[in-house]
C-alpha cells in the first residue's frame, strides 16, 4: 500500500499481468476480501432499458437511456474516456447521457454495488485493486459480449467489430468460449534504449547473442551500464526478459509447460539456456546497486544515459514522459536470439493485451454499456486513446501512419516486423502468486549474485512443484 505505502506496484504493470490471464480461465488474481459477488440466487434485478435493433443500432439500445461508466484512474489516466470516447458516443447518441466516474480502487467502489444489484453499466476493471474477473463471470455478473463483437464496426464499413481487432483479442477475454471482457490496450515488450544515444555512438541493435555481448562490452567501455533492471520492486521485468528468450529458443510451449506446472518445465533446456545467457550478462555488466533501486529510479538513470538497455513494456515512454530530456528518444528492440538454433526468429516478440472493460449484466443499461465499448473499438477512438496514452490498442492498424511518439512508432514497427511471431507469454504470475514471488527473488539472485543458472532452474522447479502439490491453491491450465 502502499508505497509505499502498502502498494509498491504501479497499477498498470500489475493489471497487465493480471488481465493477460483473463482470457483463459478464472483467475485467482488479487483476492479481495469480498464475500460473494452476488450469486445465482440474487434476484435483485432491476428494470433494464432496451430499444429496437436496426442497422444503425445493432445492439438495440434505448437512445434516450443514460449510460453509467466507471473508469480506473491509473497509468493511462481517464482523459481518453472523457475527451475522446464520450464525445464520440454522444455524437451518435446525443440523448444518451453518459454519467462518468473514476476511481483508483475499483474493487472497493464497484464490488459492493454489484453485490447490491445496482452496478454501473460499463466498468473498467483495472488497477492493483481490481476485482477477480473470473469470479464475476462465474457469478453471472458480466454481460455476454458476443453480440458486441458480432456487430458492425463503428466506423469501418463492411467489417464486424471482431474483424477490426488484432488476432487473439477476442479470445483473451473469453471464458468457456464466450467473450465477457474486452481487453483494450496492447503492450509490446522488449529491450528499450535511447535511439539518439545509440545513433550518436554508432551502436546498432543486436540480433544475435554474440552481437549483444560485444555491444555490451563497447557500452561498458564507454562508462555506461549496458543492461539493468530495478531489483527493489520490478524484478518481474527481468523474469519476462528471461522467459521471452526461453520462448524464442523453444517456442511458447516452454512457457505453456511452466504455466501448467508440468514437472521439469523449469529445468527444461530452453529455460536453462536462457538463464545461463542472461546470468552471464548479469555477472559481467549489471550495476549491483540496482538491486536496491525502484523502477522509477532505474528508468531515470536511463533517461540520463547512465543505462543503455532496459527490459520493459510500451507504457515506459508515457510513464517517464515528465522526466525525459530532449536528448532522449525511446526505441525498442526485440530480444536477440540466444542460440543459432532458436525455434523462433530474432524478430519474434512478446506482446499482450490488457486493461479489461466489461458491461455489468445486471446494470440498468447493459446494452448501452456495450455500445460504449463499441464506440471505444472504433478506429477513431482507438487513435485518440493511443494519442493520449501512447499505448497501442487492440484495434489493428488504428495507429498506422501516425507519428505519435518515437517509442510508439518503434513498438509498432516491431509488431510489423514480427508478423505472426507474436506470442502472449505466460500466465503463472497471475495464477500462482507465490510462484511469481519466487521467480522475482530468483531473478534477482541470478542477475545480481553471480549468475548461477542451475540454481535458478532448480529453485523455480522446486517452487513450481510445491505449488502443484498444494491442494489449497486452485489450478488452471492452458493449451
Amino acid at each position: 500500500m502502499t508505497e509505499i505505502f502498502a502498494k509498491a506496484e504501479v497499477d498498470r504493470r500489475t493489471l497487465l499481468r493480471r488481465a493477460a490471464a483473463v482470457g483463459l480461465m478464472a483467475t485467482p488474481a488479487v483476492g479481495m476480501l469480498s464475500a460473494c459477488v452476488g450469486g445465482g440466487d440474487d434476484d435483485k434485478t432491476q428494470q433494464q432499458s432496451t430499444g429496437t435493433k436496426s442497422a444503425e443500432n445493432p445492439l438495440g439500445i434505448d437512445p434516450k437511456a443514460g449510460v453509467e461508466i466507471i473508469i480506473f484512474n491509473g497509468g493511462l489516466g481517464t482523459a481518453y474516456s472523457t475527451d475522446v470516447d464520450t464525445p464520440l458516443f454522444n455524437k451518435k447518441w446525443p440523448d444518451a447521457k453518459v454519467t462518468f466516474s473514476q476511481t483508483e480502487q475499483i474493487s472497493t467502489v464497484v464490488q459492493p454495488r454489484i453485490n447490491a444489484g445496482t452496478p454501473p453499466d460499463m466498468i473498467n476493471n483495472s488497477g492493483s485493486n481490481l476485482m477477480d474477473f473470473g469470479a464475476i463471470v462465474k457469478a453471472g455478473q458480466a454481460a455476454d459480449l458476443t453480440d458486441l463483437f458480432a456487430a458492425p464496426s463503428w466506423d469501418v464499413s463492411g467489417k464486424t467489430v471482431a474483424d477490426t481487432l488484432v488476432p487473439g483479442a477476442v479470445e483473451q477475454g473469453s471464458y468457456d468460449g464466450k467473450p465477457f471482457a474486452m481487453n483494450y490496450s496492447f503492450t509490446v515488450f522488449g529491450l528499450w534504449y535511447n535511439k539518439k544515444l545509440f545513433d550518436s555512438k554508432g551502436w546498432t541493435v543486436p540480433t544475435t547473442w554474440a552481437d549483444f555481448t560485444a555491444l555490451c562490452d563497447k557500452i561498458h567501455a564507454a562508462g555506461i551500464t549496458p543492461f539493468g533492471f530495478a531489483g527493489a520492486n520490478a524484478s518481474y521485468y527481468m523474469v519476462r526478459a528471461l522467459l521471452t528468450s526461453a520462448a524464442k529458443i523453444g517456442t511458447e510451449q516452454a512457457l505453456k509447460d511452466i504455466d501448467n506446472l508440468k514437472p521439469g518445465a523449469w529445468t527444461a533446456d530452453p529455460i536453462k539456456k536462457a538463464a545461463a545467457a542472461w546470468g552471464e550478462i548479469g555477472n559481467k555488466y549489471i550495476n549491483k546497486t540496482f538491486l536496491g533501486l525502484k523502477h522509477t529510479e532505474v528508468q531515470l538513470q536511463q533517461n540520463q544515459d547512465k543505462l543503455a538497455f532496459y527490459p520493459c513494456g510500451s507504457w515506459l515512454e508515457n510513464e517517464q514522459a515528465k522526466d525525459t530530456p530532449p536528448t532522449f528518444e525511446y526505441a525498442v528492440a526485440a530480444y536477440p536470439s540466444v542460440t543459432t538454433s532458436d525455434q523462433l526468429p530474432a524478430t519474434a516478440i512478446n506482446a499482450a493485451a490488457g486493461e479489461i472493460y466489461f458491461a455489468a449484466a445486471k446494470g440498468k443499461n447493459p446494452q448501452g454499456g456495450k455500445e460504449y465499448i463499441r464506440a471505444m473499438l472504433s478506429k477513431e477512438a482507438a487513435l485518440g486513446f493511443t494519442k493520449l496514452t501512447k499505448s497501442l490498442t487492440v484495434v489493428s492498424g488504428a495507429a498506422d501512419g501516425q507519428t505519435i511518439s518515437p517509442g510508439l512508432t518503434s513498438a509498432n514497427d516491431l509488431l510489423g516486423k514480427a508478423g505472426k511471431d507474436v506470442f502472449m507469454g505466460y500466465l503463472f504470475d497471475t495464477w500462482y502468486k507465490k510462484l511469481d514471488d519466487e521467480s522475482r527473488a530468483a531473478a534477482n539472485d541470478l542477475m545480481f549474485k553471480g549468475g548461477d543458472a542451475d540454481k535458478f532452474c532448480q529453485r523455480m522447479e522446486a517452487a513450481s512443484q510445491a505449488v502443484a502439490k498444494d491442494s489449497s491453491v486452485t489450478k488452471f491450465t492452458r493449451s
Binding site: M1, T2, E3, I4, F5, A6, K7, A8, E9, V10, D11, L33, S34, A35, G74, G75, T103, E104, Q105, T108, V109, P112, K294, H295, T296, E297, Q299, L300, Q304, E319, Q320, K322, D323
Partner: protein, 300 residues
C-alpha cells in the same frame, strides 16, 4: 541538612543535594558537563537530520531534487512543491476526511475511555481483572492480523467505505491505551476526596463530573495527543476499507507516490503538510505530556 521541597530557597553548599523542579545536582566536573552537552548536541543532530532533509527536499525545484549529487541547501528555494501538493486532486478532501475521522475517534475514545477507566479504577466488581486483561491483550497483536475479520464484519453492516466505519475502528485502536493511562490517573486521585464530596451531599455522578474529571485533565490531554498521532498517521486500515475519496491525508500521500513514480519534492512537501497538525498539537500540549506520562506509569 536542608528541607528540599521544590522551589525552596536555595542554600548553597557543595555537599548538599538539591532538588529543583525535578533536577538534581550531583557533584559535577567540567569534563562531564562538556561531555553531556556534546552528546546532547550530537544526538539532536541525529534526531533532526532526516527532518532537515525532508525540509530541504520539499523546497527544492524538481531538477535539483533529481540531481544525482545531493545538495544541502536548495539553490532556488520554491513553494512549488507545496502548491502542487495542495492543488493535487483529493488532497483537501482527504485532509478534511482525516480531520473528521481523527477528531471523532479521539473524542470518542476520551469519552468512552474515561468512563471505562472510572469504572475500573473506582469500583471493585466481579470480572474486573478479566476486563483489564482483555484490554491489554488487545494491544498485543499487530492489527494486520485482525484486518480480514474486521473488513468482513464492517462489510456485513455496510460500514465499509465510510468515514464512520473508520472512525469506530480507530476508536477501538486507541481505546486500550486511553483506558490504561486514565485508569492510572484516576487511581492516583485519593478516595478521600470522593468520600468528602459524598458526605457533603454530592451524588456519585456529581463526584465523577465535578471532582474526578477536572483532576484527570492532564491525563486526558496526554492520551488525546497519542490518540491523535495514531489516528492521523494511520494508513493501512483506511486504505483497505475506503475508496480514494474517503482516504485520509497519510494514505493520500503514500498512494501518490507510486502511480507516477516518485516525485520527491511534492512527496516531501506533502509529508510536511501532513505532519503539521500533529506538530502543532504537540507543541501546544507538550508541557503536559510529561505529567501525563508519569502519573500513569510510576504508579503502575
Amino acid at each position: 541538612m536542608v528541607a528540599t521541597t521544590p522551589g525552596a530557597p536555595a542554600v548553597r553548599t557543595r555537599s548538599r543535594r538539591r532538588v529543583d523542579e525535578g533536577v538534581i545536582t550531583v557533584g559535577r566536573s567540567r569534563a562531564a558537563t562538556i561531555a553531556a552537552n556534546t552528546t546532547g548536541i550530537v544526538f539532536s543532530i541525529l534526531m533532526l537530520f532526516p527532518i532537515y532533509w525532508v525540509l530541504n527536499t520539499a523546497f527544492k525545484p524538481a531538477d535539483e531534487v533529481l540531481a544525482l549529487t545531493p545538495t544541502f541547501w536548495p539553490k532556488h528555494p520554491t513553494f512549488d512543491n507545496f502548491l502542487s501538493a495542495v492543488k493535487a486532486p483529493l488532497f483537501l478532501q482527504d485532509m478534511l476526511n482525516g480531520l473528521i475521522i481523527t477528531l471523532l475517534a479521539v473524542a470518542g475514545s476520551l469519552v468512552v475511555g474515561f468512563l471505562a477507566a472510572l469504572a475500573i479504577a473506582r469500583f471493585k466488581f466481579y470480572g474486573r481483572r478479566g476486563i483489564i486483561l482483555v484490554i491489554l491483550a488487545v494491544q498485543l497483536v499487530p492489527f494486520i492480523a485482525l484486518l480480514i475479520p474486521l473488513f468482513l464484519m464492517l462489510q456485513s453492516v455496510s460500514l465499509t467505505n465510510s468515514l464512520i466505519g473508520v472512525s469506530i475502528t480507530y476508536l477501538v485502536l486507541i481505546l486500550p491505551y486511553t483506558v490504561w493511562t486514565l485508569r492510572g490517573f484516576i487511581s492516583g486521585i485519593p478516595r478521600e476526596l470522593d468520600e468528602a464530596a459524598l458526605i457533603d451531599g454530592c451524588s456519585r455522578g456529581q463526584v465523577f463530573w465535578r471532582i474526578i474529571l477536572p483532576l484527570t485533565g492532564p491525563g486526558l490531554v496526554a492520551t488525546s495527543v497519542f490518540g491523535f498521532i495514531q489516528a492521523w498517521n494511520e494508513f493501512i486500515i483506511i486504505n483497505t476499507l475506503n475508496s480514494p475519496e474517503k482516504q485520509n491525508l497519510m494514505a493520500w500521500l503514500l498512494q501518490n507516490q507510486t502511480t507516477r513514480g516518485t516525485a520527491w519534492g511534492p512527496l516531501m512537501a506533502g509529508a510536511i503538510i501532513t505532519s503539521i497538525p500533529v506538530v502543532i498539537f504537540f507543541l501546544i500540549i507538550q508541557r503536559n505530556i510529561a505529567t501525563g506520562l508519569t502519573a500513569g506509569a510510576v504508579k503502575g
